[in-house]
Structures are given as C-alpha cells and as structure tokens.
Symmetry: C2
Subunit: 486 residues, 2 copies
C-alpha cells in the first residue's frame, strides 16, 4: 500500500503521537484553573504556543490555536474584515485559494461586501502585478495561499506582501500546504495553517495575527485563546501538533530534496509512459511532494478506483469523482485539462520504490480505463489516431456512463456531436472520435451539459493543436465549437 495523498492529510508523526500520549495524561484539565492539573495544562499549552510561534517566526502572543485550519481561515478573514470595516469592504482572493477561503469570501459577498478574484497563469501562480493591480482604496484584506494544494505551485507571497504593505492592506497567507517545510517569507499580516497537513493530529489549526493588525473577531466568543477561538482548548492535540511541526522541520531540508527528486521522476516520466497527458503546475517554483497530471479520455473516478485496487491512494480534481459534479476550481482557473486528473502528494518518508511501482502500474491503468470507455487509441497524427479507433469499431453505446448514447449528425456546414446527458470524459472522447471526419478548416459542434466540458474541450484543443472557436448557448447545455486546423 502506498498513500500518496499527503496534501489531504498526513498520518500522525511518531513524535506527535508520543507527545499526544504524554499530554493525554498531563494536559486534559482546564488551563484556566489554578489547581495543579490546571497549571500543568497551562504550562503545556504555553510551551506548545512557543514552539509553534518559533516555527512560524512570530511572537507567541500573536498565535492562537483553533479547532482546524478551516476555522482559522474563517475566523481570520472575518476578524480582519471586521477590524477594517471603516476602510471598506473590498476583499481580494486568488482564484486558486483553498475552498475555506472562497467560502468565507462568498459569505462576505452575501453580506454586501465586494470580492475580487485574482486570476492565475497556466502554472497556477498569481502575478504580483495583477494582484497589486486589484488593490483598491477600500480594500480591507487580501488573501493569498503560500502554495497551491492541488498542483503544488508556490505563490509569490513576499512580492505580493510588499505590494499590500505599500497599499496599507493586510495580507492573510493560508500556509496550510507549506508550513511543514518552512516559515513563510515576506511581510505578511495574518497566517493560517492546519496541523494534520504537516503530520500533526486532526483538530488543530493556527491563526497568527501580527501585532498592529486591526482585528475584531465575530460571533460569540469566550476568554480562551485571546478571544479568538471559543471553546475548551484541545491541549493534547495542540501539544502533538507543535511537537510534530518541530519534528518535520528538523527533517525538512533533507526530505524536501528527496521528495522533489521523486516528484520530478513523475513529472518527466509520466508523459513519456502515458500518451495524451498534461502535467500541471510550475515545474520549478513548487512544493517538494506534489505533482499533478491529467489524462485525456479517462474519468477520474475510475482511475482512482483502479489505482486504489493497485494499492495507491491518490486524489483527483476531476468532476467525475466522489460527490462533486464540477471540476476543481483550481484547474478551471488555470485553464488546464481536468479529465483524468490525478494528484500525487507524497508524505515524508515515501520510499523511492513506491514511486517506481506507481510509474510501472499507471500506464496500464490509464490504458485499461481508456479501452473500457472506447477512447481513441493514440498513435501518430490526429487523423490516424482517431480513425484508428473508429475502425476498431468501439461503438458509442458501449460507453459505460449513463444517459443516451451520443449521436452524430451532419448538418449543412458543420458536424454535430450530441453528448447531452453524458458525463466527462465522454464528450471529449466523442469529439476525438469525429474530428477525423471534419474537413480541415471545417467545424464540429459538441452539445454537452456536463460542466467539465467547458474546461476540457478547450484543453483538448490546446493539447491537440485544434482551434477552439467558442461556446454557444443551446436548448440544453452548451454547444462547444471546434475548428479542425490540421
């Protein structure tokens, strides 16, 4: 078994586990009480705060523990916005923030605030100039992650922080994915993180508010954690979180280099081993352990299922996984392919053999899924490849997804593919199947009502060197128009 989803959660670090066990004995009492059990709990809490602050490079009295990273983000954004209510109600977020940030932004907007989403390039990074350009006189707060959780791209936090500082706007950095690797550089104002991402236990987040930053926490509060995180302190977990952070930091430099080399193997070898793959994210400015790629003509859920069967736990930003019906907002903002998306995020300590085994298993898994879906068999030129499949005779009605089988009809000036009611990756597969029938210079219209088509049809065109003409409204769903250029 190889667990390759550290960006979701990492198992508890052995040092954290030991600390947790010790603190279960010594840290269960109320730290606000004056008797010995309370004093002992208080000492543990204070020591954990000091250790965490040292790792963040902030003052202990700037840091509070929250019940989760999500809660840290929610409280941090609400409190910073409320603290600068007089300045204005404009909030800036990048388009690829964690959903907790985007949820807080939605609430802010629903309450009458304004939100600017700063776009990213194809690697997933914001540009400091674009970010700075969105700063307005009434901007109360800006939010930028330290690194992206889906593709691993590291954001230019220090440059953005400088621009924010110059404009007098506080910057909140969601450091959930990077804090285990090192402190966040730059002159940020607020920082959030989540312990279970660095090998700490569930149930612990960090919220850091620099001295001098206006902050007015919302909602019912109590006297705990400086009035910023109501409820009984979870001291055993907090102690374990701080101990784990210290432990992973001690190993960080060495482990980062090792994991970076392992993810580099995946980045370079997957495109060679698996045809029609797009590796996403910045190849240089990236986290050590995360690599993400998408495979044409494959549905994410089946790939995940097959990889799970082969002993690999990975996640996917495809729309056809789990309960979600829309592709990942991160891949959408980047404008890259979402179908057959696979995120590999290696936990520290991942043996090289596991990665090698993954590279051995993956090509067969993808080929198997493609075969089941009746996807075009890749070969040389587009015409040859797509024709080859049609000649193999795999009929559209064999496709396992629900709905009516896709139909093809020729109208006066364009071929139409009806993929209404068909889930990804069927619309793209149908497009690939007919492109050979389109004369060079002619167009094909794909009718589809699966959200992923909006992202994946243009991405397919980009990968295939065909021209994406645009989207047109249709009676049901949309018509995506593609011109054959070669």
């Amino acid at each position: 078994m190889a667990y390759f989803d550290a960006a979701s959660a990492a198992p508890l670090h052995p040092v954290g586990r030991q600390a947790l066990l010790a603190a279960l004995d010594d840290g269960w009492a109320d730290p606000a009480r004056l008797y010995r059990e309370g004093r002992r709990a208080r000492l543990l809490l204070d020591a954990a705060r000091e250790a965490a602050a040292e790792a963040v490079e902030c003052r202990p009295d700037e840091l509070v523990f929250t019940p989760s990273g999500t809660r840290a983000v929610h409280v941090g954004i609400e409190g910073a916005l409320a603290g600068r209510r007089r300045v204005g109600r404009h909030l800036i977020v990048s388009a690829v923030e964690h959903s907790s940030v985007l949820h807080a932004a939605e609430v802010h907007e629903a309450l009458g605030g304004s939100v600017t989403e700063v776009g990213v390039d194809r690697t997933g990074a914001v540009t400091p100039d674009a970010f700075a350009g969105s700063l307005l006189p009434d901007t109360a707060l800006a939010c930028l992650q330290s690194a992206n959780h889906e593709v691993g791209t590291v954001q230019p936090v220090a440059e953005v922080a400088e621009a924010c500082r110059a404009a007098g706007v506080p910057l909140l950095v969601d450091a959930a994915q990077s804090l285990g690797w090192g402190p966040v550089a730059g002159d940020w104002s607020l920082l959030t993180a989540s312990a279970h991402k660095w090998g700490g236990p569930s149930g612990v987040g960090l919220l850091v508010v620099r001295k001098g930053v206006r902050f007015a926490p919302r909602g019912p509060l109590d006297e705990r954690e400086s009035g910023r995180a109501a409820g009984f302190e979870n001291i055993p977990a907090v102690v374990a979180a701080a101990a784990s952070l210290r432990a992973v930091r001690a190993e960080a430099a060495e482990e980062a280099a090792r994991l970076r080399e392992l993810t580099e193997r995946i980045r370079t070898r997957v495109p060679a081993l698996v045809p029609d793959v797009e590796v996403t994210g910045d190849p240089e400015r990236r986290l050590p352990g995360i690599v993400t790629f998408s495979c044409l003509y494959v549905d994410g859920e089946t790939v995940l299922h097959e990889l799970d069967g082969a002993g690999f736990s990975v996640s996917s930003g495809s729309s056809c996984t789990s309960s979600t019906l829309t592709p990942s907002h991160v891949l959408r903002a980047m404008g890259v392919l979402s179908e057959g998306n696979v995120r590999v995020s290696l936990p520290p300590g991942t043996p090289a053999e596991d990665v090698e085994r993954f590279l051995t298993v993956l090509p067969g898994v993808v080929a198997g899924v493609r075969e089941k879906l009746g996807a075009p068999v890749p070969a040389g030129g587009v015409r040859g490849a797509e024709r080859g499949v049609e000649e193999s005779g795999a009929p559209a009605v064999d496709a396992p997804a629900g709905g009516t089988p896709a139909g093809t009809s020729t109208v006066v000036d364009a071929l139409v593919v009806d993929a209404l009611g068909r889930r990804c990756p069927i619309p793209v597969i149908e497009l690939a199947r007919v492109i050979g029938d389109v004369p060079v210079g002619g167009t094909v219209r794909v009718l589809a009502d699966d959200e992923a088509a909006r992202l994946d049809i243009p991405a397919w065109c980009e990968m295939r060197g065909q021209e994406y003409v645009g989207e047109e409204p249709a009676d049901r769903g949309s018509a995506y128009v593609v011109r054959r250029t070669s």
Copy 2:
C-alpha cells in the same frame, strides 16, 4: 491527590484512550476520499455517529460532531434562530445557562434580536410555568440546560419542552453536564454536549437537530458534517468520544448511586463541620457528582489555594478567583452567597476515602482563612459571635486584601462602614464586625465597590436573620443598607 473538578473536565476514560490510539492508526485520513484509508476513516466516523446517536436517543443523521461543546452551542443557537427568522427574533434562555449560551444570546441581542432571561429559584431551577410564560408569538428559540454546571440542579426539561412544543417553539437543551449519566427525557428539538465532560477527549462536541426543526447554519461552511461543522473531521477524537460515552453509560447507574451518596455526605456534613456555610442547589433533583457550598468570611481564591496545597482540586464561583472580578452569574441568579464558594464535582471512580479526607481537611482550611482575614469567630447568637471577634482585637488593618483599611463612622441615624476599594469578603466581614454596635431596629450602611457585595450582603442578611433594606447609589460604588432585627 484528589481531582474534584469533573464538571470542568474529566480525564480521558481508559476505554476512550484505547479507542483513540486505535483510531490514530485507522482514522487519520479524509473520510470524503474514496481510497481505502478514506473508506476506513469513514467507517469509523459512521460507527461513532451511530454510537453517539444511540446514547442521545436520536437518529444518526440528526447528529453532527463539532470541535467543542461551545461550538455546538454557538452553531446550534445561531442556526436555529436563522431557521426561524420569519417567525421572529425572540430568544429565551434561563439565567443560569452555561456562558456559551449567554454569549450567543448577547451576540443575538447585539444584532437586533430580543432576549428574555428566565429567572430561577434559590435552588437554581426554572419553574416550567415561568418559562412557558415567557414564550411569545415571535419566539424563535428557547434554551434550557439539562442540569446546572455549578450547583448540579436538574432542570424540568420535559415539562418545559412540552410547553415549547405546544407553542411551536423549538427547545435547545445544553446537556453538557448530564449526557454521561443518561439521555435527556422529553420532546426537545436541539441538543448540545461536550465530550470532555463525560470522560471523552477534548475537541469534540455534539449538535443534534431533530428532523423537521428549521435550521439554517450561519457563516462559511463546507460539505463536512452535513454543512453544520466546517473543517476536517477529528475522527480519532470522535471515536474516542463515542467509546467513552458508551463506557461511562455502562457504569452510570451504579456510579450515580455511589457518587450521590458521597456528595450527600458533603451536603449534610459540611454545614455541621464548618460554621456559617450555605449549601446551594436542589437537595433532591440534582446531578450525582456535584455539590456546591459557600462559606461566609472567606475568599474563594485563598480557599482554593489552600485546598490545592492539601491535595484537592476544586473550583469556585467566587469573584475573587482567577481573573474574574464578578461572582458567578449562576449564584447571582439564585440569590445565594458567592463568597467562599466551593464547587466539588466528583469524577466517576472517586474513592470514598478521598471524600472523607476532604471532610477532614476542609474545616481547618476554612478556619485558617477566616483567621487570616480577621473574620468574626462564629459562636452562638449574632451579637455574641460578632462581639467576640471585636474583643479578640483583630484590627481591620490586618486584613490582607489591598486598598485602604475599612473605616467605621457613626452618623446621626446610622453606622457607616467604608469598604470602598476592598475586595470580597472584606465588606461582609466588616459588616459582621459592626452589626453588634447597631441598636436593634437601627441600620448600618456598607459602602462597597466590589461587585460581589451586591450578592453577598443580602445573602449574609438571609443567613444571619437580619433585614436587608436595599442598595442606594453612592459617590463611589453603592451603599448597602442593613437593619439589625435581633
């Protein structure tokens, strides 16, 4: 060492500890993921939810886990109020609810809602009629604890729930103190609880919302826990919480009888062993493990400190403990003495010998504190007792509290005690010192600016059989007027 503060927090039950350790191995992954670690985590979460629901006597899909009992209360109240926004914005709470309920009520009031605080009798219980009488056509929600956390009095929840049901108003029951002992009877609509009160770990609360209750959670949310508790699930802690609850319930009937007998020893013997003591709370309708009493002429912080030195960890609702400057709102609502307040809350398994040792140690501790403070030595009648002390010559300037020594002066028609700047229990001690100088039928005015005086001077009158005439405004603080009746 004897830890007698289970109402604040109980150490983790051995069964909970074992469950926690197992779930650290099997329950750290994201339960929303489809790979095996995720599925394993999901199974544990589902099983914990079923076990907790069984203990609450609700459906599993009515119960979500929150990061604390406090959070459960905050989310529960906000969500229920928002769900019935169209009905109105009136909220009912009892005056002796946990601070988390009162904080949520404050926020509701600050946002333009209205709040009725239903008073309690001297035992700390609401009367169902009074509670029902506060129901209005625009009442959106009513809140009543199952039992009080400071004095152990059990509330008439079933009767109040019936009245609420008849009025079509949902009742939220904070069951933090009682859920370990059994399910809450009656037709309530929402229920909250906190695992570390029943021997579960920190970091777990329960929020139950009965099917059919209108509920609209506020603030940024995610898809976890039915959209009612955002943030990564803390599955190891949740599993430990459910296992602990099951374990304490298995022992509950036997242990309740045993602890009830032990607290009964304290209830009956403390007044015999320590003079000038008021035992508070309902003698019959009460939790098994909690007993609370207050001692005249004693400051709570010193008593706690001395008891801690003698090996007993207890808490106090006195104003002179820890950081608080006001006496417990519970004791205030009950109208009972707050000075020298001691809450003993026995954890399951407390040996009888510990209670016996406490009863042996307590009289000396209280006497020692009284002596240091120059308090009147109790004897027969009031006059004798109070005169006795004056004759012993302990001067007011010996009192260890800060501020200027209290001065006594006789004006035309009344004696005046100046206790301005003096902290509790000094104003009451000074009153007791001079009462012997007041002619029967005459009055004495105590000038005091310590909040506790407002509660403790009337309470002293009640205990001493003197007449409390009332409070008058003064240049600083207030003048409390007492008439000597015997």
